[in-house]
Assembly symmetry: C2
Homo-oligomer: 131 residues x 2
């Protein structure tokens, strides 16, 4: 799969794909005889993962680390992976909690708005957070 096709499939632009390659987020793909990049099918999943992780506030460096997780028979590496995943799980749980709070506040505003009379007058997100 050539770069233009891949870019369209994952909705990123060509320069971004080359940038991700330069930053080590995706492997250097094989080249065709003419020098064009030829991506394997699984690049699509990898890039979709990168997009997901970016959306929720992970940096490219952090995403690279997530993608680098590899459990092998080596016990040392295994323990490292276990520690790393635990840290990331904690971070993710925190993010989910923060999102849930913001969501609850928005829902409160959304529900009370236009809900009748003047219930929601001067309602702000900070006020909605103070339950």
């Amino acid at each position: 799969m050539k770069i233009g096709q891949l870019a369209k499939t994952v909705d990123l632009d060509i320069q971004t794909l080359r940038y991700y390659e330069s930053q080590g987020l995706i492997n250097e793909p094989q080249r065709l005889e003419n020098g064009y990049r030829d991506y394997p099918q699984n690049s699509v999943e990898r890039l979709r993962f990168i997009k997901k992780a970016k959306l929720v506030g992970f940096t490219l460096k952090e995403i690279k680390d997530l993608l680098a997780i590899q459990v092998t028979k080596d016990e040392h590496t295994c323990q490292e992976v276990k520690n790393f995943t635990q840290i990331k799980l904690d971070e993710i749980n925190q993010k989910i909690n923060e999102l849930s709070e913001i969501k609850a506040a928005l829902q409160k505003i959304h529900t009370s708005c236009c809900g009748g009379e003047e219930t929601a007058a001067h309602c702000s997100i900070l006020q909605a957070l103070e339950n």
Copy 2:
């Protein structure tokens, strides 16, 4: 409350607070006779909200918009707020879904790692996502 105290309370540095002020994320506080900023107590909540929202990937511009939500008796404004909060709720739900997927994958790796024999050999986050 002076800027140093506020910075310590919310764990941001002084320059960041002045930067947020310059970007309109926090209001210009009153000044003491000597020209020092004197923040009201509620700056703490506002800044904590900003930190939460940043953690989960909102930009300062988006956070400013969230903080600007005000439901008034004006029907027009009310409808706008309802539309805006709905859009933000959709975004937040999407973020929660992405986080849940990443979390499930990490949990799978975390659980299978060192779990016995060689079950988790060469397990990566992308493989863990393919259920």
